[in-house]
């Protein structure tokens, strides 16, 4: 019963049933620094992750 987060090619496996916010925290990802999409649709921090979910995280920081 797991879901997967993917950020810049790196995968993080998390337990299904937790919220996206908890999954990000558990993976040491700052929620402010990413936008989460599932099946091409943006999802929010309170979304409960289901078994088999693949959440693509889009890094928002740019610049130099």
């Amino acid at each position: 019963m797991t879901a997967k987060l993917i950020l810049r090619g790196k995968e993080y496996e998390v337990r299904a049933g937790m919220t996206l916010l908890d999954a990000l925290k558990k993976s040491n990802i700052v929620p402010e620094a990413v936008i989460a999409t599932r099946d091409g649709e943006m999802i929010l921090d309170d979304e409960i992750l289901k078994d088999g979910d693949v959440v693509k995280l889009i890094a928002v920081i740019s610049g130099g």
Partner: protein
């Protein structure tokens, strides 16, 4: 979480505003807010010609899209920097910019630095030993010079850049850490035109970087996702990460940091105000753009050095 306007499922949540919106209402909200900022800071009117500096990234493409949706006369300027970094960075960013312009039937000016000045940005940087092994300093200097040159030469009233609140807060944070008063004095949503310098505006300066990413996704704008190969490990990115950690614990901290600075500046509360009279600018004898010291400006000095090196070799 529900959209505050229609009650359907929300797709964007802005904790600093305590506002969640669905895709449709978010796409209405962003231009409405942009219009509000343009008017609030007196950036430009619909009668004026706006040149948008477009890099192919999320912020500048969003800005161009928003201004056109709002009915402003906005043309684009792309500056080809000649950065490859093993990923064809400049090539891909130009492709995406041209794609956007073509799809929306917009006018795009393209300046290729190598064609214009004989060398790409990384080579110019190497030749002049400027910037501690990274071309970012030469890149910034050249972009500022070229954006101003094109805006001035082609008769645009105003030059608009896609700087967002995270960009502004990171710069402010850096300048506050070092109390660089002359830079603090110049920072703001509008830099008025002066002799040789076009008016510069930042219509997205109150949107978080995250919101611009969301706007691109919601609008289906394809932008260059890869970071500039030279940006890795940069101070500005480090500052943005620090500020995001703060924002995570204190929603709205970045916004308040920036807005309170603008307020203090406007009221004349900053200790640096007394230095304003000393910030006198000179005119470069070659390109006529303003420079902080008498004689050639930094850009013309850079080009002169490059030409001398070319002659020697």
């Amino acid at each position: 979480m529900k959209c505050r306007k229609c009650g359907s499922k929300a797709h964007v949540n802005m904790r600093q505003h305590k506002l969640a919106l669905c895709r449709e209402h978010y796409l209405e909200w962003v231009p409405e807010q942009t219009e509000r900022f343009i008017k609030k800071y007196g950036m430009f009117t619909r009668d004026e010609k706006v040149l948008v500096a477009v890099s192919g990234g999320k912020d500048s493409l969003s800005l161009w899209d928003i201004l056109v949706r709002l009915g402003y006369q906005a043309d684009g300027l792309y500056i080809g920097l000649g950065i490859d970094g093993g990923i064809g960075y400049s090539h891909e960013s130009q492709r995406l910019t041209e794609k956007f312009a073509n799809e929306h039937d917009l006018k795009l000016h393209i300046v290729d630095i190598e064609k214009e000045y004989g060398q790409s940005i990384p080579v110019l940087s190497e030749m002049t030993h400027r910037g501690k092994g990274k071309p970012c300093s030469v890149c910034g200097l050249t972009k500022r010079h070229e954006m101003n040159r094109i805006a001035r030469d082609l008769g645009y009233d105003v030059l608009a850049t896609g700087h967002n609140l995270d960009d502004e807060a990171a710069v402010l944070f850096g300048n506050t850490l070092t109390w660089t008063s002359e830079y603090l004095l110049r920072q703001g949503p509008v830099l008025p035109s002066t002799e040789g310098l076009a008016r510069k505006v930042k219509p997205l300066c109150r949107f978080y970087e995250r919101e611009m990413t969301a706007y691109c996704l919601a609008r289906g704008i394809e932008y260059i996702y890869e970071e500039c190969p030279f940006a890795e490990g940069s101070t500005s990115i480090y500052y943005k990460e620090l500020l995001n950690q703060l924002e995570n614990v204190r929603p709205g901290a970045k916004l308040i940091f920036y807005l309170k600075f603008l307020e203090a500046r406007r009221r004349g509360d900053l200790f640096v105000e007394q230095n304003e009279a000393q910030a006198h600018l000179h005119s470069c004898p070659k390109c006529r753009q303003p420079t902080s010291a008498p004689g050639l400006c930094s850009f013309c000095r850079l080009m002169e050095k490059t030409q001398q090196l070319d002659t020697v070799s």
